[in-house]
Amino acid sequence: MREKWLLDASIRDDKVVLSLYDEENHAVKEHETELVFHGYIISENPISLAEEIGGLDGVVSSRVEKFRIPPYYVDTVDVVVFKTKSYRLLRKLLNQGIGKGLKPVNNYPHPLVEALYRAGIRPLTRVNVDEKNTPATVEWRPADKDPVVDYVVLRVEHGYFIAETPSGENRFWELRDVAEFIVSNKFLLAFTDELTYLRLLEAEPSLAHKVYRWITAGGFHPSEYFEWSRLSYTPLSMMGNVSIGKILTTLEALLARDRKLLVDKAYGRREPWRTMRELLVYDRGGVVYQPSPGLYWRVCQVDFKSLYPSIIVKYNISGETVDKPSCLNRTSFHWSPRTVCMDEEGVVPGGIRRLIELKELYDELGKKTSGELYEYRKSAVKWILVASFGYLGYRNSLFGSVMAHELVTSTSRELMRRARLVVEEKGYRVIHAIVDSVFIQGVASPEECARVKELIEEATGFKAKVEAHYTWLYLPRDVKGLKGVANRYYGLLSSGELKAKGIMMVRGDTPILVKKAQYEALLELSKAMRPAEMASRLAGAHAIIDSYVEKLRKGIFNVLDLVTLRNAREGYVKPPAYVFEGEPPYRLVYVSGKLRYLEKVKSLMIDVNKYIELLERVRRELPSKKDVEALTAGGE
């Protein structure tokens, strides 16, 4: 018996075809298998319908089962559940049901996903194949490695096409070169976005068949795709049109199926009438402070671990549990008018509970092995957890409600309040807070920062982590130079590294030249270890920006370093002019203050002043002299 990987599964000619991958010889063998599809129909005469379907050729079984119906899963309905090994028959029976005025239900997730789930066949895990070529699944453990495959991830960065393969990154400017690169290499899997894929096919139509599977949901790493696929039983070939929200909903829908909860989009959880007062006070997002701009010394940043998902799990927040009309064990909150029914675990907390543990496990494994694999997996799980909150308030969400969404944000604001109070009671000063992150001034060392984190954990009952300890942290001013901006900051970590968020250097649409200038300037600033050293380092940082301005004025630059990327939807009214000048990716440069498609522009036409303006914006993100002099803004 030899172990292979279940790389993919698809429906072909009525049956399920498993793509089994042999890691040793890098070959894929397709294996037809007979999985059972499930169909669900509601009828006024369920018993007679079940008998009628059960008597048809190709139907394995048919019976009546009770399912609880949304929105609160209290009442039940009889559902005819039938099984068949023929996908065509399944579709035919469901369509005939609609024609006869019956109601097919449990339409989500896709029947193939449910078939794999019920058979315990998890994509991207190992399977044993015996002499008769019958696959048997091997239990998946989170510490297991991913299959070693020949893959390419294609994405666009700063105007270049980046082709990431197991052996490293390749940069291309011409699309034709990317196509040739793919043709000349035998990749098993290719991951990119739809737009890049279509442009590649225009350049080289044969590319569609040069790669075994194209996955066009974005240029994410294979380990991220593999994790999403494994967790949601969604095969790679179905990942092309899958969003994170769909993966989450699949997880929840499979859980709902196990609990006999009906999945039916016809039911919604509408918001009741609200008073204006209630809307204004409770219908808000997380805490986002308006920070006072300035330079702060000895700052500790504590982040809650998966705050919103943890709130959902701890307080059992789900569409059907919040404000449930009939409930025996109800919890109320002094920070919200909503109540939660604790009689039964909700679908949303049930779906994500394991994910929170999994994320922590990947975090530990990542630290132990210092490999990238678990970082990618952690990132994949994190995205689902992020969506778990967002989807609660999404109007088409199957398992959420606006009331549940609102209760999560209300709870987070209360927790942040508790965090602030406990920290300030100990004499520290909270200088900034963003949703699940608190910045505390006056914390001398990383060790003290860890103690502050413990204080916050005790006060709130939620897990937190030391995100960073800054020797100094700078909160820049907005473009008008008046107030601070919540999500822009940078600083020198006590470990000696720089950390930056939201500033020009880390924004995807900033030209390379401007990024380089800011990075060098901040490196210079990072040499300041004490307040007294900051003034001279600031002068050095200004000199660096001056040198870049000077080079631009003298025309000493590479045009490609000035390229900025934009998408086709920059405004709501009409597409921007550059959309009509060329094709995506839109590699643009400034000409007379406006963005123009690079290929249409001669280097002499480039608007150098616009780039100098961008460099001046970088300069404005540096501390002002006043900030440096007024050490009391964050004085040691």
Binding site: L279, D283, R284, V287
Partner: protein
């Protein structure tokens, strides 16, 4: 979540803008006091983020109390 309500900062800043415009017509020393009153308003807005407010004027009222306290201590 901004689904149906503007952000607290935007609601308050409309009042602040009007206050600034009105202050332009005041004698210089009085104008200075109004501008002084508006200083550090962002931290009051930040406190109010935790509980939410019904009326943006609440924020200015709370800020006024904070400022009065500082004034009293100053004397």
């Amino acid at each position: 979540m901004g689904r149906s309500t503007p952000s607290l900062w935007i609601s308050v800043s409309e009042y602040v803008e009007r206050l600034r415009k009105i202050s332009e017509m005041l004698p210089k020393d009085e104008r200075g006091k109004i501008l002084c009153f508006l200083e550090d308003l962002e931290s009051t807005i930040s406190f109010c983020m935790h509980t939410g407010v019904v009326d943006p004027l609440e924020v200015l009222f709370i800020h006024l109390i904070r400022k009065m306290d500082k004034e009293c201590r100053g004397h």
